[in-house]
């Protein structure tokens, strides 16, 4: 199967976020309560190393396994879409205690309730595209 490598990277991702307790509702709650450094440390250190990776990608020092240059797609500009979309996302993130990755990891851990959260997330993505022409961006 040509996608086997992505299955393995995903598997590693699931184990990392489980072991780091990033998938725990409580870790998200305490982050927004400013009562623990854990999540700030996780995201901050990931970004810190990520900054160096991006520089190495751009300078062409790290290439893909096929020897091609790595190009990181720029994010869409627009204040409204990012601040309003981000705020809506944050409301859901703090309530469900899970962003899209952890939803699936928790499902694999047997948290049946996550199937309802995932259903909601799919509905939300669908709904956005149904109404996006009427929204400011």
């Amino acid at each position: 199967m040509k996608h086997l490598k992505f299955l393995l990277v995903g598997l590693l991702f699931g184990i990392i976020l489980s072991k780091g307790e990033v998938i725990s509702w409580y870790r998200i709650y305490e982050m927004f309560k400013f009562q623990s450094f854990h999540m700030y440390g996780v995201i901050g250190s990931a970004i810190f190393i990520g900054i160096f990776l991006m520089i190495l990608f751009k300078k062409g020092i790290i290439k893909t396994y096929l020897g091609e240059n790595i190009r990181v797609a720029p994010k869409r500009k627009g204040f409204t879409r990012n601040i309003v979309g981000g705020t809506i996302f944050g409301l859901g993130w703090a309530l469900a205690g899970a962003c899209p990755g952890p939803m699936f990891i928790l499902l694999g851990r047997g948290a049946i309730a996550m199937s309802i959260v995932i259903l909601g997330a799919l509905l939300g993505a669908f709904l956005y595209h149904a109404v996006k022409n009427k929204l400011p961006h």
Partner: protein, 185 residues
């Protein structure tokens, strides 16, 4: 082996997430989980209702396989790698949760008050789970990314749109945690 069974501190977990970022770009792809929501909509036939979802989901099948791997990773970790799912919390956090009716905070990864069977099969509990997911899905696609695409990749790439999005994540998260959760529970 002992290290594998203990919860990992932030300074292991964060760099390991960077490793995932590296691996996906090294393999010629990108790191963004929430785009899978759109791919799954397309796969599920949402194209019948909306033109947008008529794209060929197969071009993103690698990302679906990635997320399938994450499900299996979750299964492996619950079976063999996390003998205890207790989360060590700040006593203040436990007390704060107790005042809004959350008992045994930290006994497991997820509070039974939101994710337990009693909650799932009550109308209010069901709507909270569905609504939480709906906000995540809607917001992520409106902003064009979630924690992986905006917070990790976007901020690493010093993207202004991602900084604005992450500020939004916090505005929403703070409103939910400080204002709405005490009202909802």
């Amino acid at each position: 082996m002992d290290f594998l069974l203990q919860p990992w501190p932030w300074y292991i977990t964060g760099p390991m997430i960077s490793l995932i970022l590296f691996l996906l770009y090294y393999l010629g792809k990108s790191f963004g989980v929430s785009s899978n929501l759109e791919t799954l909509c397309a796969l599920g036939g949402a194209g019948t209702f909306l033109e947008y979802f008529k794209f060929d989901w197969r071009k993103n099948s690698w990302n679906l396989v990635f997320i399938l791997g994450a499900v299996i990773g979750g299964f492996i970790s619950v079976q063999w790698l996390t003998p205890s799912a207790a989360v060590v919390l700040n006593p203040q956090t436990i007390q704060d949760l107790s005042t809004i009716g959350f008992e045994n905070a930290g006994a497991n990864y997820l509070p039974s008050e939101i994710f337990g069977l009693d909650a799932i099969f009550s109308l209010k509990g069901f709507l909270i789970l569905l609504g939480g997911g709906l906000f995540v899905g809607f917001g992520a696609r409106y902003a064009g990314g979630c924690t992986s695409g905006h917070a990790i990749v976007g901020l690493s790439n010093l993207e202004l749109p991602s900084l604005i999005s992450v500020i939004g994540f916090f505005i929403g998260g703070l409103i939910m945690t400080w204002v709405l959760i005490p009202i909802l529970f």
